[in-house]
């Protein structure tokens, strides 16, 4: 088992034991999903060449969508892309009467990240690097920004970028250009004349600004922009049909924009459940324009089409889960610096036991099993005399969902 940088290892293990997707170290526990990974890698190549892809990543609850996109995000940064990600929620949608769309933009921009700043909050760093590379000369900057001119709002965007240089050197706490770029202004009167912009980033136009960021990322020396939106099932859950409709409409607009080549150097990935995508009454398929585009490249005579707009993440096979468990075992021993005592056969026994004892084994997610195994390994490590067989026999994995919330025998 290869040596992993200590810091990465610790972060990784901490995240896994609390059931969250780690921000780093994913490559050490990635199992299976080869074809899907190839698709993403190929997407990145296209994006770097000036193209782009819009894909839905579809997978059931707990089956590794977030994991997959996190991995791609990290890989993209490694390769020199700018990345942005946001989790959709009640207050962060694609559009809404209470600026829910703008909230999403703000979150995306807040989470901007690059190789040098993988945690997020990279905007200022990106801007400053760019200013330095332009030697702080406004004329140079303006010249380099001409490649944005075919995009809407490019004038204001450029003005704000150039103004940023002045704001930074003024040493003032309050930087209007930065606030504008972050989408923090709610009304034009707040902006004032000094900034020299006529428009405002808002609920209806924030996507146009994402496109500007994509083009700008090239100018700034990066390969392009990759955008990740997770928890899209939130849109499916919205109680108002009109709200869902508006949001699906917006998704369609962005989808068309990217797939028809009206944007460059940008790809977008939206994660959601199969229901969110395929439910004909309530999901994306209820929107005819989306349905026809998304089913276009689906199953071709029994084989999954990995080039279609929807990537279906199927659950890990038991064999793949087993491989994952072996990796976890090895990582755990590395983390705490001991020789692994749990054999492959014992892992098999463990896996068999938890699957047998689960109320609904097909519902068990890799996240839950991973968390449970780590907990088991922790206990074994701290109690060397403990009897493995006894700990494993009859063992049940704590589900993510409170058992009281589970309703059995559902029919439709």
């Amino acid at each position: 088992m290869q040596e992993i940088p200590r810091r990465t290892l610790v972060t990784l293990m901490n995240a896994l034991s609390s059931g969250v997707v780690p921000r780093r170290g994913l490559e050490y526990i990635a199992v299976g999903r080869r074809k899907e990974t190839e698709t993403f890698v190929s997407d990145l190549e296209d994006t770097a060449a000036g193209g782009g892809a819009f894909r839905f990543v579809s997978g059931r609850y707990g089956n590794g969508k977030s994991f997959m996109t996190q991995m791609i995000r990290n890989y993209a940064m490694e390769q020199g892309f700018v990345v942005m990600d946001a989790d959709l929620s009640v207050n962060r949608r694609l559009t809404g009467s209470k600026k829910e769309g703008l909230n999403t933009y703000r979150e995306l921009v807040r989470n901007m990240a690059v190789k040098a700043r993988p945690e997020g909050g990279a905007m200022e760093s990106v801007l400053q690097t760019w200013i330095e590379s332009s030697e702080g000369d406004p004329a140079v900057m303006r010249d380099r920004l001409t490649s944005l001119s075919h995009l809407t709002y490019s004038q204001d965007f450029s003005a704000a970028l150039i103004r940023y240089r002045d704001d930074v050197s003024s040493g003032d706490e309050d930087m209007p250009s930065l606030r504008w770029l972050k989408g923090e202004y709610e009304s034009r009167s707040e902006v004032g004349g000094a900034l020299g912009v006529h428009s405002l980033i808002g609920d209806s136009n924030w996507y146009d600004f994402i496109k500007l960021w994509a083009e700008f990322s090239r100018v700034a020396g990066y390969k392009g922009l990759i955008v990740f939106l997770d928890e899209a099932v939130v849109l499916y859950k919205l109680p108002s049909k009109a709200s869902r409709s508006n949001n699906y409409e917006r998704l369609l607009t962005i989808f068309n924009d990217i797939m028809q080549g009206k944007s460059s150097y940008m790809s977008m990935y939206v994660c959601g459940t199969p229901e969110f995508i395929e439910d004909p009454r309530r999901g994306l398929f209820s929107y005819e324009a989306l349905r026809s585009r998304l089913t276009a490249g689906r199953y071709e005579s029994g084989y999954d089409n990995y080039l279609g707009p929807v990537i279906n993440l199927r659950p890990l096979t038991p064999e793949e889960v087993y491989v994952l468990l072996r990796r976890i075992r090895d990582l755990h021993s590395q983390r705490y610096g001991y020789e692994p005592t749990v054999t492959d056969a014992m892992l098999e026994e463990y896996l068999r036991a938890v699957l047998e004892n689960a109320m609904s084994p097909e519902m068990l997610t890799p996240r839950e099993i991973t968390r449970d195994l780590i907990s088991l390994l922790d206990t074994l490590h701290q109690n060397p005399g403990a009897d493995f067989g006894r700990m494993v026999g009859g063992r049940t994995v704590d589900p993510d969902i409170d058992p009281d919330d589970i309703i059995e025998d559902l029919e439709v």
Binding site: R60, Y61, V90, V233, V234, Y236, K237, L238, P239, K241, T273, E275, R281, R282, D400, I401, D402, D404, D405, I406, I407, D409, L410, E411, V412
Partner: protein, 724 residues
């Protein structure tokens, strides 16, 4: 008036301008509780008893002294008309104080509502449905508007207690507290109240901390009962003797109502229409100038307002009405109240009584008991029970007794509605959260979590809810339709649907037109439908026996056991009847003779083919007993005239039948007595419930397995050899 000092200047001005000489007892008591304690309060007093002021003055004083940040007081009324009415009165009182009051209900424009949200008035007057609408459709705004809510006044409280609508109101108020974080004091106003304990329980949501100020019931009222008999139309005299009798009745009705302000209460819309039109004719013929008008749920708003105004003007008008005028819309000083046929309950009688007697006179009611011999079902073996019932109710009302509020209800239909309402306003709700928030509300305390899960499961199976993989619950496609319906906020269904007739004579009305061959229960008997017609909506029936659809929830009056016992005393034990006129006394005597002859005083009387059973228990207990006896092995059938007598067809002797019935009663769960005919969704959302829950709700509300226990002692009292 020492506590005048507690009141702000504009209220003192109002009092002075209205020339009040002092506060009434009820007001002083109420002030004491409102200023001096933190308790919820129930105020019961007659219509002009000043209970509205008793509640409002301290509230207004509080709002003036300490202006609220949002709505400070909520006034809840059952009718839009009542709210509009109260609004006017309130404006007068508020005068130049600067305190603002606004109304909010179905007839108020959207722009006015939006304004009220942006700039909330100090006092908001609203119907329960509109309050539900705000909570379902504008929850964040509700939180803003009501966060400083201090008082909730519930007018006509008795009309809410023990009903679906009242339960919904409790849900809304409890949800409001949760959403806005307020803990207002509640004040319930009513002319009549069932009993102190259950009223306090209701207003405090079962948590205690309530007081009552009571000063009105039926005591001191004058109730007279006049009896009329309409013989069957006799072809030999061209129907003349009948026409004469009917005419005489209407002329007497005119005499009683002419020239004064009065309401003639009728028990159904169709009956009200007929009375109004006949009285009009007679009135015109007699040259009277006193207008006769009509008022009920199917009458247009303009006509209803016209009727209300005519009464208010005090210049003398007669309005024939159903229960719509029972509630406290201000109709000015009424001289007296007329009631055609006994009312459904003592509570209703007292409530209607309370509309009269404002001019300082005692409340007065004239009850007309009209026996129509062409309707053979109106008497049972020669006994005209309605007359006895009227007398019994009059006596009980006079003694200050009214029916206790119904308890132990299982409002599953409301639970359905509140579930959808909650899910409309939130995302990512799983079952535990749903159960904590919704099932935790006071009206649902009798419902188990497992039952609720069953309801949710059912709602998923019919597409009203959807459960996602991560166990979050959202509103399904079908539920979406329901929730966006304009009338989602209402829980009650609309009134009278179809007329039911026998031999062309109306027995009563039912909500839904039944199918041919189906059975209905009306006027205490079971009927089989032989034909139906679409316009007018009508069903023709013949008498039958067995289990029938009883139009529960509408139109089938449940008689309380106490009333039955008093009736027995009057009919069988010779207790004096002092409300009847001479004709009535005569008929009562004849009834007593008939009752003796058919052995109604006995628990059991032999009849050809079996025996007759006279249990003298309330309607629910009677029907439960009927079901139990029907299931005894060896009983071939039971024909009931509820709640007076049931005829048991059997070869077994009565003792052994009743013994078997008792042992069945002890081991039978009420739900198993519910039959398919009972499963008639009557509440607005009942159709969306699983049949099992409807059955359970029916059993809880309509059956009384305890009360149908026939005790040994009572049979000995009656001098029968019955061993129980």
């Amino acid at each position: 008036m020492s506590c005048l000092d507690d009141l702000p200047w504009f209220l003192r001005e109002y009092i002075h301008a209205s020339r009040w000489t002092g506060f009434r007892e009820v007001q002083l008591e109420a002030f004491g509780i409102l200023f001096g304690t933190d308790n919820h309060l129930v105020i019961s007093s007659g219509t002009s008893g000043g209970k509205t002021e008793a509640a409002l003055f301290p509230i207004i004083a509080s709002l003036y002294r300490d202006p609220p940040d949002g709505v400070g007081a909520l006034y809840i009324g059952p009718l839009k008309a009542l709210i509009n009415d109260q609004r006017e009165r309130l404006e007068e009182v508020l005068g130049e104080s600067g305190i603002r009051a606004e109304g909010w209900h179905g007839d108020i424009a959207r722009s006015a509502k939006d304004r009220a949200v942006r700039d909330p008035p100090d006092i908001l007057q609203i119907t329960p449905e509109s309050l539900q609408g705000i909570l379902t459709n504008r929850p964040e705004q509700a939180a803003e508007m009501f966060r400083s809510l201090r008082f909730v006044v519930i007018d006509e409280m008795h009309a809410f207690m023990g009903t679906d609508r009242g339960d919904q109101l409790v849900c809304c108020l409890s949800m409001l507290e949760r959403v806005a974080g307020c803990r207002p004091r509640r004040i319930g106003l009513s002319a009549t109240l069932p009993d102190r304990a259950s009223a306090e329980e209701w207003i405090s949501f079962g948590d205690g901390g309530a007081s009552t100020v009571r000063c009105f019931d039926g005591r001191g009222a004058t109730i007279t009962i006049e009896y009329n008999r309409f013989p069957q139309a006799d072809p030999s005299d061209g129907g003349r003797s009948r026409a004469v009798a009917v005419n005489a009745y209407y002329r007497r009705l005119l005499e009683v109502t002419d020239g004064c302000s009065c309401i003639v209460f009728s028990n159904s819309r169709i009956s009200a229409e007929r009375t109004a039109s006949s009285l009009s004719k007679v009135s015109e013929r007699a040259g009277s100038r006193c207008p006769v008008m009509i008022h009920h749920g199917s009458v247009s708003q303009e006509l209803r307002s016209a009727a209300e105004d005519a009464l208010k003007s005090g210049s003398g008008a007669t309005v024939v009405s159903t229960s719509t005028l029972e509630l406290g819309i201000d109709v000015g000083d009424l001289d007296r109240v007329v009631q055609i046929d006994p009312p459904h309950s003592c509570s209703s009688m007292v409530q209607r009584l309370g509309r009269s007697g404002r001019r300082g006179g005692a409340p007065e009611m004239v009850v007309f008991c009209n026996e129509d011999s062409s309707k053979w079902w109106s008497s049972v073996e020669g006994v005209y029970f309605d007359l006895v019932k009227a007398e019994a109710m009059a006596q009980l009302a006079e003694e200050g007794w009214t029916e206790p509020a119904p308890s132990g209800r299982l409002p599953y239909g409301l639970l359905y509605q509140q579930t959808l309402s909650y899910l409309k306003t939130r995302l990512d709700v799983r079952f535990t959260e749903l159960a904590d928030a919704v099932l935790g509300m006071p009206p649902f305390r009798g419902i188990q979590r497992e039952e609720y899960k069953g309801l949710v499961r059912h709602m998923v199976s019919i597409g009203h809810l959807q459960i996602l993989e991560d166990m979050t619950i959202i509103i399904g496609t079908e539920g979406d339709r329901v929730v966006h319906d304009r009338d989602f906020g209402a829980v009650f269904s609309d009134g009278d649907g179809a007329e039911v007739v026998c031999g062309g004579k109306q027995i009563g009305t039912v909500q839904k037109l039944p199918d041919v061959g189906g059975k209905v229960m009306l006027a205490g008997r079971t009927w089989r439908v032989v034909s139906v017609s679409d316009s007018p909506l009508r069903a023709e029936v013949v008498e039958d026996e067995g289990d029938a659809v009883s139009p529960w929830g509408s139109g089938c009056p449940m008689v309380h056991g106490e009333v039955m016992r008093r009736m027995r005393d009057i009919l069988v034990s010779g207790a004096p009847a002092h409300h009847l006129d001479e004709a009535g006394m005569g008929r009562l005597e004849a009834c007593r003779v008939a009752a003796r002859a058919s052995g109604m005083g006995e628990l059991v009387t032999a009849v050809p083919g079996g025996f007759a059973l006279h249990p003298w228990v309330g309607s629910a207990a009677f029907d439960t007993l009927r079901r139990i006896v029907s299931r005894v092995k060896g009983v071939r059938g039971v024909r009931a005239v509820a709640p007076y007598v049931m005829y048991v067809r059997t070869d077994l002797d009565p003792d052994s039948v009743l013994r078997s019935a008792e042992s069945l009663r002890l081991r039978t769960a009420p739900e198993s007595l519910v039959c398919p005919e009972d499963d008639q969704p009557s509440g607005r959302y009942d159709a969306y419930l699983p049949a099992e829950l409807r059955r359970r709700a029916f059993a809880a509300e309509m059956l009384d397995i305890e009360g149908c226990r026939l005790s040994r002692r009572s049979s000995e009292e009656r001098g029968s050899s019955f061993p129980f």
